[in-house]
């Protein structure tokens, strides 16, 4: 469980994060999105008790990030954007080092470490020096390090950034499993498709503050407006749209020679009416569907607002 209330961090005269509220219960994955320098890393560092907040408070797994820093750090697993490995060590030596810092026995570290190496298709690599690993493998070792002591909270920064599609899927599946295993997870990423597929909720952070928060569906509605529909007919519309008075029924966004895009807050009521009117004019309906809007659209809307602000 991660709770942050009015969390803020100021470096001299620069406010990196302010008035940040978060609540991530066990079994939930929150994707923290935002442009570079928005305050994601500072937030994660505060939640991992590396930086002290200057305002507000936060608890991780019930421990206060300032007063119970050691307990907080013991209960989290953290993957930094760059895994930062010791390249002269072998994979298993590296895990032995970190496992010991968490008070694990060598046997337990070996057992869990080797299982995780196998899980990520690296069973043969654990005796090799980390300097010989590929970029993706290093990223996976970073993730194994974060998962080694079975933490109840995971803070993951770009977990699949350097990976090939197969490895990235492996990692995503593992993250899903951990979430299903009742862990609270914060995922910082620029990969919006990944965030959309993994996250239960999304928080978009901009200039140190959360500007949008909710499920993907909620965010789409909040930022992109009502659902967008497209109807395709079997004839040329040839200016009939005006005669049909469809603009009194829906908000028309685009018209092409045989299709119309529109928005409506109540598709279940307006769509049958619209279909009936088109039919009365002898226009056959080829298709009627909701135009899918991605998280990217949501994100870009927020970033665009930032550009307008600037």
């Amino acid at each position: 469980m991660i709770i942050a209330e009015n969390l803020g961090k100021k470096f001299d005269n620069f406010t990196a994060v302010h008035d940040l509220d978060l609540h991530v219960p066990p079994g939930e994955l929150l994707a923290l999105l935002g442009p570079n320098g928005a305050g994601k890393t500072t937030t994660v560092r505060m939640l991992s008790s590396i930086l002290r907040p200057t305002t507000g408070r936060a608890t991780v797994n019930g421990y206060d990030v300032v007063r119970q820093a050691a307990q907080v750090r013991r209960s989290i697993g953290m993957l930094t954007e760059q895994p930062g490995l010791y390249l002269r060590m072998t994979g298993i030596e590296y895990l032995l080092f970190y496992g010991r810092l968490y008070g694990m026995s060598d046997d337990a570290i070996r057992e869990r470490g080797l299982a995780l190496f196998s899980r990520f298709d690296m069973a043969d690599a654990h005796e090799r020096r980390l300097g010989q690993y590929s970029k993706g493998m290093r990223q996976k070792v970073g993730l194994i390090r974060a998962m080694l002591h079975k933490p109840s909270v995971l803070l993951l920064d770009e977990p699949t950034s350097a990976m090939d599609p197969h490895s990235a899927k492996l990692v995503r599946d593992t993250i899903k499993e951990m979430r299903d295993d009742q862990r609270a997870i914060i995922l910082c990423t620029h990969n919006l498709a990944e965030a959309e597929s993994l996250a239960d909720r999304i928080a978009i952070i901009k200039k140190g503050a959360i500007v949008a928060k909710g499920t993907t569906t909620e965010l789409k509605q909040q930022l992109l407006g009502h659902p967008q529909m497209e109807v395709r007919v079997d004839q040329h519309l040839n200016g009939q749209v005006h005669d049909l008075e469809l603009d009194k029924l829906v908000t028309i966004e685009a018209i092409s020679e045989n299709s119309i895009r529109y928005r409506t807050p109540t598709p279940e009521q307006t769509n049958p009416l619209l279909v009936r009117r088109l039919g009365e004019r002898g226009l056959g309906i080829i298709s009627l569907h909701e135009v899918s809007q991605s998280l990217e659209d949501v994100y870009l809307r927020v970033v665009a607002e930032e550009s307008v602000d600037n």
């Binding site: 470096f11 590396i50 930094t80 970190y98 810092l101």
Partner: protein, 492 residues
């Protein structure tokens, strides 16, 4: 006046068994890593094996050369110095490893995962200290052993137990000092380049120290060397404590640039110094400013107590020196009560002159004391504070040896102006010491720079508001009243 609470200076740092265990985990990994790095191991091996052999050869040639001229004593005195050099060279590698221990990891991005583990700041700092100290120290001992074995085989020379102990201790303590100072630098900078630049603050004093040790070894001043070892050991402990107190993971990850924020320093200094900080950003009127400045005095109680002890120690030392270095009988004869008034110049305690000259002299000494203390953790400042009192004690001791009453002497020569001068000096010196000690025992609730600037501004307030007026009064008393008292007491 907002109170700055310092960490207790002499309170033991609470290190538990688990702290050492975790530090050992960190140290073991780092040492293993060092042993796998050929860029570290090659020079260490060269300096451990080949360099001592070379020194051995040099010692043999030198011995043969000076023997031709019947001056073996020169070679005999130089051999111990070479032993010190043989130990110091591998030890110097600790500096390079230590300088990059934190900041290098930060640059390689491996520090943040480490900081996110349950390791406490103490455990991490200790682990790093041990890791950078052990390999070079072992190499230094090995190098010295190789050198000594070679000397024994080639020349049949063996060191005395005292010499062996002193060179081993000097090598160890120098290593600890270099490592402790370098780790402090490494934990306070944001790039390896900046850390290397700052290393000159370690290298230059070390080079001077080696020269001093060389001279002491050459002249066989073993007593001096023991004192030096004691002083260096204290410095090492101070540096380690300072490093432990200063090390905060927040500082490591919170800064990306080493900036000299001159504007911020000046505005902070002025805000505290002018009293605006305590007056909601407005300039206080002079009465309020004085009230605020006076409220600083209770915060000076601990440094004042320390300095009072130092003062008493200085007086005692002066008296002891008077007994060791007695003045010749004809000079002592001039300290009879009849002749004291006539021989004021020889006493050199009663500074005669215009009040302004006396005042300026005192101001100069206090400014010097404040400045010298800033980069010596207050040590040189305390020594400057003690020096005049050693002279006073020495003079009082000689007066006693001349058969006169030393207390009457002190009352007549010092007391009138000391009533004003002593509080003035004690206040300034206490505020200066409090400022200097921010580096060793920084307040937990402020950054080092904040505390350092604030305490320097408070020193300035005490100096300008309290010390200077008292010194001015003391100067007039010393110029016009003390001589009258002296004449009244000793004059006929």
């Amino acid at each position: 006046m907002a109170q700055i609470t310092f960490k207790p200076l002499l309170k033991p740092i609470p290190l538990k068994r688990d702290d050492w265990r975790m530090a050992a985990v960190v140290a073991r990994r780092e040492i293993k890593d060092s042993f796998r790095d050929w860029r570290i191991m090659t020079p260490i091996i060269l300096l451990t094996v080949f360099f001592p052999a070379l020194m051995n050869f040099a010692a043999g040639r030198m011995m043969a050369f000076v023997s031709n001229y019947g001056a073996q004593i020169i070679a005999t005195q130089l051999i111990p110095f070479l032993l010190l050099v043989v130990g110091f060279f591998p030890m110097s590698f600790s500096l390079i490893i230590a300088l990059e221990t934190f900041v290098g990891e930060k640059e390689r991005k491996s520090l943040e995962p480490l900081l996110a583990t349950p390791l406490t700041d103490y455990q991490l700092y200790l682990g790093k200290m041990i890791a950078v100290l052990v390999p070079p120290l072992l190499a230094a001992y090995l190098g010295m052993a190789v050198y000594l074995v070679g000397l024994y085989v080639n020349l049949g020379w063996t060191p005395s137990f005292q010499l062996l102990g002193q060179t081993t201790l000097l090598t160890t303590v120098q290593g600890v000092i270099m490592v402790a100072a370098a780790v402090v630098i490494s934990s306070q900078t944001t790039s390896v380049r900046a850390a290397n630049l700052l290393a000159s603050f370690i290298i230059v004093p070390m080079a001077l120290l080696i020269q001093g040790e060389a001279a002491a070894l050459f002249w066989g001043n073993h007593v001096g060397l023991w004192w030096l070892i004691l002083a260096l050991s204290i410095t090492a402990v101070v540096l380690i404590r300072m490093g432990l107190h200063l090390f905060k993971r927040e500082e490591l990850m919170g800064r990306d640039l080493d900036e000299v924020r001159l504007g911020w320093i000046l505005s902070e200094f002025w805000a505290v110094m002018s009293g605006r900080r305590e007056n909601n950003g407005r300039y206080p009127n002079p009465f309020r400013w004085y009230r605020q400045t006076l409220s600083l005095i209770p915060q000076l109680s601990r440094p004042a107590a320390t300095l009072t002890l130092a003062l008493l120690g200085a007086l005692g030392m002066g008296v002891a020196l008077a007994f060791v270095y007695r003045l010749p009988p004809d000079m002592l004869a001039s300290f009879t009560s009849e002749r004291i008034a006539a021989n004021l110049d020889q006493l050199q305690i009663v500074a005669r002159g215009l009040p302004l000259a006396i005042f300026m002299q005192n101001v100069r000494v206090l400014v010097l004391m404040a400045l010298l203390g800033t980069f010596t953790f207050g040590i040189l400042g305390i020594l400057v504070f003690m020096l005049p009192w050693v002279i006073v004690g020495f003079a009082a001791g000689q007066i006693f040896l001349a058969g006169e009453n030393p207390f009457l002497f002190l009352v007549a020569t010092i007391l009138p102006h000391a009533i004003f001068e002593l509080p003035a000096i004690l206040l300034a010196a206490s505020a200066a010491l409090r400022w200097h000690l921010t580096v060793i025992a920084p307040p937990p609730d402020r950054t080092l720079s904040e505390a350092f600037v604030a305490t320097s501004a408070e020193f300035a307030r005490v100096f300008i508001g309290l010390t200077l007026p008292l010194l001015l009064v003391a100067a007039f008393v010393e110029a016009y009243i003390t001589p009258q008292v002296l004449l009244a007491v000793y004059g006929n």
